[in-house]
């Protein structure tokens, strides 16, 4: 959904333009970068090499931006970076076939690490928040089954006969 600029998330909104080239080619430094990156799992049936990490990042980030971002903020050395923009899904109206509420395009970056390997860590350590819920559900189910067994519909028998 499109929102006005003051309500939109910063990480979804556009960043200010870079300044134009000037004679002497001075290097520009960004003091308050609005870019974001996040690590995502590799795609299904597309295993990555051990030194490669898949990132999703702000769509306006260039390869050089990503490199600088990782080097300066996170102290991660990179060999190489490849990026790809995945087009968002066009959700179409079933009848009028016009595009309604399309998903935004997303940029993914594959970062090749230097002298390092990465596997997606197991932050759950064998336990998930839904496990307890599942246990509770099972407990409820067994209880309800017992209840049902007592309250079976048996025609011809009166209710006091149990």
């Amino acid at each position: 959904m499109r929102l006005p600029a003051n309500l939109q998330y910063l990480y979804k909104s556009m960043t200010p333009r870079y300044p134009k080239w000037q004679p002497g080619d001075p290097k520009h430094r960004i003091f308050f970068p609005q870019f974001w990156m996040r690590i995502v799992r590799p795609e299904e049936n597309r295993p990555l090499r051990p030194n490669v990490v898949r990132f999703e990042c702000h769509i306006e980030m260039t390869k050089n931006d990503i490199k600088q971002y990782l080097e300066k903020l996170y102290k991660i050395e990179t060999l190489d970076i490849t990026t790809i923009i995945k087009q968002g899904k066009e959700n179409r109206h079933p009848v009028s076939s016009e595009i309604i509420d399309p998903d935004p395009d997303r940029k993914f970056a594959y970062v090749f690490l230097k002298n390092e390997t990465f596997t997606y860590p197991d932050i759950w350590r064998g336990q998930k928040p839904s496990d307890e819920l599942v246990k509770d559900e099972r407990r409820m189910q067994t209880a309800s089954e017992k209840q049902k067994a007592t309250n079976l519909y048996r025609p011809g028998l009166s209710t006091w006969f149990r």
Binding site: Y9, F32, P33, W36, V40, E56, L73, R125, K128, P129
Partner: protein
């Protein structure tokens, strides 16, 4: 919070249970900082010196939330930074705080994605909003300072504010000032659109007609709204002193949504003047003003009709 967890891992709780808090605050210096982000899976041993895992995993772990909050449905967190607090901070502090928030946001975004991947509910997603809010506040504070500095130095704010300018075709157009590669006197396309050239006087009639058309449309719209407002005031007479305000409200509203009277309302009869309540006190006393929009209006009408039929018989 993190510090307490650290102590929990490193100090054997049963062994030092009897010692009061002051006692092991003295040992605080002896605990080495843990260099890994992931706590060890096995139970911490009794000896403090063997407690610390020495290998540093990687800086990529800064993207992940490695605390024990992953299994909780609610994460305790604070509020965002207010503008008044940030105004007291120096530029350097703001610069540092920005990067803290940036890393926190990245971490939250990765965790959100991970939870989505595992079909789990992300606990307290308003954390992202709060981080965003404080980042936005930092930006506004920096902008304020920039404007103040520019005003002192140059007498101008230095903001690139969009404006409405007249083009060379004589029509008004939205203009966003921005940096250009060429200077404006060399830029052919800029000169064609925004330059000094103006249309000849024989085009005045077209301009005039264009303006007239637009004014006519506005006039039509206001008239439409005025009609609606008159109906509203007839129905709710206590608003009759605030007609201008109601007009403004309706204008605001009809800028966004197209007004279309549904047929079930349009077919209904208008209230005549003698049916309305003119006094506010009377309105309150009377209580049951005939509401055309009520759900049982049709039922009441039918009852009335049946009553009339009975009378005739």
């Amino acid at each position: 919070m993190n510090l307490f967890q650290l102590i929990k891992w490193t100090v054997h709780s049963q062994k030092f249970a009897a010692i009061p808090a002051k006692g092991w605050l003295g040992n605080f210096r002896q605990i080495r900082w843990q260099t890994t982000d992931v706590p060890p899976r096995e139970e911490p041993a009794a000896d403090v010196s063997t407690k610390v895992t020495p290998t540093k995993q990687s800086n990529l772990m800064e993207f992940f939330d490695t605390s024990d909050n992953t299994r909780e449905t609610k994460v305790i967190h604070g509020r965002w930074w207010y503008l008044d607090e940030l105004r007291l901070k120096s530029n350097e502090d703001l610069h540092k705080l920005w990067y803290v928030l940036l890393k926190e946001r990245n971490r939250l975004l990765t965790m959100e994605e991970e939870y989505r991947y595992q079909y789990e509910l992300f606990p307290s997603p308003e954390r992202i909003d709060k981080v965003e809010e404080s980042m936005r506040n930092i930006m506004t504070v920096v902008r304020e300072r920039d404007i103040a500095y520019n005003l002192l130095e140059t007498g101008k704010t230095g903001e690139l504010t969009p404006q409405i300018r007249e083009t060379s075709f004589g029509l008004l157009r939205y203009y966003q000032p921005k940096e250009r590669v060429l200077p404006f006197y060399k830029n052919r396309y800029y000169q064609l659109l925004w330059g000094k050239r103006r249309a000849a006087s024989w085009t005045n009639i077209f301009k005039r007609r264009y303006n007239e058309f637009q004014e006519h449309q506005e006039h039509q719209e206001t008239n439409r709204i005025r009609e609606i407002v008159a109906n509203v005031i007839q129905k709710y007479p206590h608003l009759r002193n605030e007609e201008e305000r109601v007009m403004e409200e309706y204008k605001k509203r009809f800028d966004f949504e197209q007004y279309h009277i549904p047929k079930r309302l349009a077919r209904r009869p208008k209230i005549r003047a003698h049916e309305t309540v003119w006094n506010e006190q009377e309105f309150i006393d009377h209580g049951d003003l005939k509401d055309l929009n009520s759900e049982d209006y049709e039922r009441l009408q039918q009852e009335k009709a049946s009553r009339m039929r009975r009378k005739k018989k």
